[in-house]
Structures are given as C-alpha cells and as structure tokens.
C-alpha cells in the first residue's frame, strides 16, 4: 500500500463519519480539525472504523498521529503493510 492509498482509505472513513463535509479539497498537510468539522468523538470514530474495517489498532498514545492526512499516512501505511505481510 502506498501513502496515497492510505490517505484514500482514511478519507473514505471520514466521508462516512462526517457526511456533511466536502472532502474534495482536504489539504494533506493541514490538521483535519482545522479544515473540517470534526470533534473528539469523530476521531474515536476514525479509530473504531480502522479497527472494524481494517483490523488496525491505534493506541490512545498515538492518537495525535491522526491529526492530518499526511501524518495518518506516515503512521498507518506501515501498519497496513505489516498486516498484509502477515496475511
């Protein structure tokens, strides 16, 4: 999986948890909370959906890694690749 693939998966999740938001121009290097109406419960949703859809665990200490699309990709892509290597 590439980092771009990873960003798309994260955006797919955000599209479901923030259905009123226009996601066409999300800036990857800007904090998601600074450009979208997302609150702490929404971030818990992202964590939950990563767990449910992809079997990815994000420990609480790492929540800050989900701040922007870029940081999501940096943090999550190795996890996705580790998972696919296992399977």
């Amino acid at each position: 999986m590439t980092k771009d693939d990873c960003k798309k998966l994260v955006l797919d999740i955000i599209a479901d948890i923030a259905p009123d938001e226009d996601l066409t121009n999300v800036k990857p290097d800007v904090r998601l909370r600074d450009q979208l109406q997302l609150d702490s419960m929404d971030f818990l949703d992202i964590v939950m959906e990563l767990r449910k859809r992809h079997g990815i665990e994000v420990p609480e200490a790492d929540y800050l890694q989900l701040a922007s699309l870029d940081s999501c990709a940096n943090y999550l892509t190795p996890k996705f690749n580790a998972l696919s290597a296992k399977s």
């Binding site: 948890i17 923030a18 259905p19 009123d20 109406q37 419960m41 818990l44 949703d45 939950m48 767990r51 449910k52």
Partner: protein, 412 residues
C-alpha cells in the same frame, strides 16, 4: 392564588399517516391509515407504523448519524412546533425555555443495535460504540432537541410508559405555572419500532396484531381485534402562559383545562378500570366540569382483547348514558400504538374539531364488540356535531400509570 392559564400555541408532529397537523387531520377524516410491513431483526416482516418525515429538514447528516431516531423525531417535532407557533425564536431567551418529552422507553434500540454489531466481532467489547452512552441515557430525546435548538433551560424526558405523551404536556403545564420557564416544548416521542424486543415482547404476551391487510390491523373495539400494532411517532407542542401568548398575538389552539395522573398499584400489565375511572373523574373535576361537559373522549384503547373492554368499562362508569353530547373515538385504529407519542399525537388529531365541529371516527370496526359498545362511539365515518368545547384524552401505560388530559376551546 389562581393558577396561570396555559395555552397551546404550536403543534409539530410526525405520525405514520402524516407529517404535519393538517395532513394528519385530513387523513383522520378520510379514513387513511398508515400501517405497513417492516422487516424486524430476528422476526421477519411485522406490521408497524413507520414515519416518513424528512429528517434532513432540521438536522445535518451527521446529527442523524450520531443521534438516535427518537432524538431526530424530537428535533423535527420541536422545530415544526416552533415554526407553527410563529415565536421569534432568535430573540427568545433560551434559558427560559423548557423541553419536556414523554417516552415509553429509551435505549432499547441503541443497545440492541450495539449487541448485534458486537455479534459480528465475536462479542469483543472493543467494538462497542463510544456513542452508546449518550445515545441511551434516558434524557437523550430531549437532550438532542436542546442541542439542535440551543435551548439552555431544563430539557429532560418523562418516563411514563404509554401515558407519557400526556405526561409531557401535564408536566410542562406545571412548570409554566411554577414560573420555571416561559415557554415549554412538550409532548411525546417514540422510536420503538426499531427494537425487535418490543415486538417480541408483545408477541410473547399474545398481544401483537396480525392481519392480511396492514391498514386493517389496528382495530380497537372490533370483535376481531387481536392486539397492538407497534408504531413510531412524535408530537410536540409549544405551551405558554396565556398572558405571554396574548402579548405576542399568538394563535391559540386550545387551553389546558384539567388533568390527572394516578396509578393502579394492581398489576404489571393488566389495566384497572376502577383506577382509570378515578383518573378520568379527577381530571374532569380539576377542570371544573362534569362528564356531560366533555364533548370528545379520545380513548387509549390499543386493540387488545381485554384492555379495550376495561377502558370501556371505565368510560361507562364515568359517562354512563347521561352524556348525550359526548362523542368517543380512537386514533390508534389509523396509526397503531405510537407508545410515548400516543397521547400527544392523539390529542393533536382531535384539536381541529374545535374549528370544523367534526369528530374523527374509529376505523376498522366491522363488527363492534358488544362489550365495547358505548353511547357516543363514532364508528368508521366522521360525525358532525353541534358543539366541541372540550376534548378529554386518555393515555394509560404499563405498571398501571393512568393519565387524562382535558383541553378546552379557548375563550378569552
């Protein structure tokens, strides 16, 4: 000191056969029921009253996703009631507004959904939603309305089984009279059709209606009635003190004339006609009226074989043969049992009688059960009457809670 006079100045509703009072009323006069088959988890298709309001009229998609169906119904009804009242909402101090919403139950839907979700993940509780608690707290429907409206006054629910819709109005009346708030948004809501448990529970009680034709399934007082049609719905009113309503030139639907709430203290589920009659009599006495002065009695009857007979026994005891101007009807025959919304919705459906002098009938009575034959029962066709000055609404619930609410035509 004489208590303040309390008046109804706005109505917002969603019923299985209408999403506004004019539409609901039109269907009640035209005999249009609103029951359909709905897939119920673990049980297959069941008869249910489903509402088809536009949730996105007053909520964002995210509010609908995060919140509950009861919360969504509350928001819709509250917003519609406020619009109907023509209150200048932007200018209204939000800390002087109370939201009082009756519920039969709350949290079953959300808990069942979570357990079902968990079953897909081998019952590992790390997949349990972080929204579970805010969705299932008992005040959820009122809380969601307060969030949507920015109401900072008291907002809570009143658990009173199927008497809850009346209790919302009664409690609001009390709070306005106490001066706790200046405007009350009140009534009842229900999301019960989204929990299999309520269907399965009634089925196990042999109290769940079945019929080949969904629109004929809810048939109070008919010999062939065989139980309850479970429905969802909501009806919220704006209530104000008379002087406040008059000061802003509000349209006044009706005045709260009297009410009473009591308990059977006799059984978990079986009604008690003696206590029901006491409740109705006490509401009439509080209104300063006699049974002869009541022009419409809207019954609670849910179409269970025993419950209908017992309510008729209570009505017979109060009204007997000596009330020639009293008409009796039932709204569940159209919309099923809207649970916590029932009392508030069924009252709303009768309010236009003050203007059109017409009593909507009880439909689906092909063969009247002799045990339910009451003088004044309006069957299958609307009845024009000479006078409608008062409406009494019965709503009773499990664990033996009884409520009767009387509204009168407003006269300054």
């Amino acid at each position: 000191m004489k208590p303040s006079r309390i008046v109804i100045t706005g109505v917002g509703l969603t019923a299985p056969n209408g999403n506004s009072l004019p539409e609901f009323r039109r269907n009640l006069l035209n005999g249009v029921a609103g029951i359909e088959r709905m897939e119920i988890r673990y049980m297959g298709p069941q008869l249910a009253g489903v509402c088809h309001y536009d949730a996105l009229r007053h909520q964002t998609k995210k509010e609908v996703r995060v919140g509950t169906r009861a919360g969504s119904i509350s928001v819709y009804c509250a917003r519609e009631a406020l619009a109907d009242s023509r209150i200048d909402w932007a200018a209204r101090p939000k800390d002087r507004v109370g939201i009082y919403i009756g519920c039969t139950e709350h949290g079953n839907v959300e808990t069942e959904n979570e357990i079902y979700n968990l079953s897909k993940f081998n019952y590992d509780t790390k997949f349990w939603s972080h929204y579970h608690n805010p969705r299932t707290v008992a005040n959820n429907p009122a809380g969601e309305a307060s969030l949507n409206l920015g109401v900072t006054g008291p907002a809570y629910t009143i658990g009173a089984a199927c008497a809850a819709g009346n209790l919302g109005l009664i409690h609001a009346t009390q709070m306005l009279r106490l001066g706790e708030v200046d405007l009350a948004i009140c009534g009842g809501v229900s999301e019960s059709i989204h929990t299999f448990g309520i269907f399965a529970g009634f089925k196990s009680q042999n109290a769940l209606a079945t019929h080949a034709d969904p629109h004929k399934a809810s048939r109070p007082f008919d010999l062939a009635r065989n139980g309850i049609v479970v429905s969802e719905g909501g009806c919220l009113y704006t209530l104000e003190r008379l002087e406040d309503a008059q000061a802003r030139g509000a349209k006044i639907y009706a005045e709260i004339a009297g009410y009473h709430v009591n308990s059977d203290a006799s059984d978990y589920v079986l009604p008690n006609p003696v206590r029901q009659a006491e409740c109705v009599r006490a509401s009439i006495a509080r209104a300063g009226l006699t049974p002869r002065d009541i022009h419409i009695v809207n019954t609670h009857a849910t179409a269970t074989p025993l419950g209908d007979i017992q309510e008729c026994e209570a009505i017979r005891a109060v009204f007997g043969e000596g009330c020639p101007d009293t008409s009796i009807n039932n709204t569940k025959s159209y919309i099923g049992h809207c649970m916590g919304a029932a009392g508030a919705l069924e009252l709303a459906g009768n309010l236009p009688s003050f203007d059109d002098l017409t009593v909507h009938p009880t439909i689906n009575v092909d063969h009247l059960d002799p045990a339910c034959a009451l003088p004044g029962l309006v069957l299958n066709q609307p009845r024009k009457v000479a006078k409608v000055d008062t409406i009494l609404n019965n709503s009773f619930g499990m664990l033996g809670i009884n409520s009767a609410l009387i509204v009168r035509r407003f006269a300054p």
